[in-house]
């Protein structure tokens, strides 16, 4: 009986500390990356420049959605990388998040437009449906399904470590 108790005490303690050892050593990777698949939510939002209304049926194939705003400082840093992606013919749809129309337009005029088109989500309704918590955030979609949701700035490293593997696996964007 006492041997049994000894065994229990020691093994529980070992498992306990062992767990923490493995947990600490685990490559935490990128906490901002979320790979759960979900459907693109339905929406009806105006384009930034015109009165045209977009809805989910307008989106086809594979593309990125980038959440940005003129008040978002990190977005300025991310912008050059997005331009690089655009030059490689990767379609990016801009989701202008809780921004005044004039501020957004002057930001784009100043820094350039890497987007295929920009949805003006003034109230943040679509963003809420997408689970957006701030800017910048970037989604990768294929066939109406969200397959990557990254919270934070996308740069070379993030693109290579987080997005590229999925793009390769799903064989998207032909070129890359």
């Amino acid at each position: 009986m006492t041997i049994f108790i000894r065994f229990i005490i020691v093994s529980i303690a070992l498992m306990f500390f062992g767990f923490f050892y493995f947990y600490i050593n685990e490559d935490k990777y990128y906490p901002g990356a979320d790979f759960t698949t979900s459907d693109m939510p339905n929406f009806e939002i105006k384009d930034l420049y015109s009165e045209r209304i977009f809805n989910v049926k307008d989106l086809e194939g594979s593309y990125l959605i980038n959440v940005w705003a003129s008040w978002c400082i990190t977005c300025r840093i991310e912008h050059s990388f997005l331009s690089k992606l655009e030059s490689k013919n990767i379609p990016i749809i801009g989701l202008n998040y809780k921004d005044e129309e004039e501020d957004a337009i002057s930001w784009i005029t100043r820094f350039g437009d890497p987007y295929k088109y920009i949805i003006h989500d003034y109230k943040g309704n679509l963003a809420l449906d997408l689970g957006v918590t701030g800017a910048p955030e970037t989604f990768l979609l294929n066939d109406g399904k969200i397959i990557v949701h990254y919270r934070g700035e996308v740069n070379d490293m993030i693109w290579n470590d987080v997005f590229k593997p999925i793009i390769k696996r799903e064989n998207l964007f032909n070129v890359n």
């Binding site: 009986m1 979320d34 759960t36 979900s38 809780k98 943040g124 809420l128 449906d129 997408l130 689970g131 957006v132 918590t133 701030g134």
Partner: protein, 125 residues
């Protein structure tokens, strides 16, 4: 006494107007539901903390959405599902009862029972 009189008249005769609540509720029950719900929903942007304890912009947005949902007549469970569909299960501080969480909820009871059994039936040498 004089102060009371003064205040009374100043309120009646001044251009004081009645303010509104930011969060517009149809009933006291709704208001109570709201305040109790936001304690159970995690702030998705903070390292830890509920919506009640956070004034991050996204927290405010979610709170206003919850109010809308309450007004639409959605139940607490529906509201929680709405949010977890969009922000993931981790937004709920109540992990719920699912096949993944049976262990969590039942383990304390089992632990108590096992210890009680050991305690009452142990042999003395």
């Amino acid at each position: 006494m004089l102060i009371k009189v003064f205040l009374f008249f100043s309120i009646i005769f001044s251009s004081f107007t009645l303010g509104k609540s930011l969060y517009d509720f149809e009933s006291v029950e709704d208001e109570k539901r709201f305040y109790s719900l936001i304690k159970e929903i995690r702030c998705p942007k903070c390292t830890s903390g509920s919506l009640a304890s956070s004034n991050a912009p996204v927290s405010e947005d979610i709170k206003l959405k919850i109010i809308d949902l309450i007004k639409e007549g959605k139940s607490d469970q529906e509201i929680k599902e709405f949010l977890s569909d969009r922000f993931g299960n981790q937004i709920l501080y109540n992990p719920g009862l699912s096949k993944d969480t049976y262990l969590l909820w039942l383990a304390p009871g089992f632990f108590l029972m096992i210890i009680l059994l050991i305690f009452f039936f142990r042999k003395r040498t």
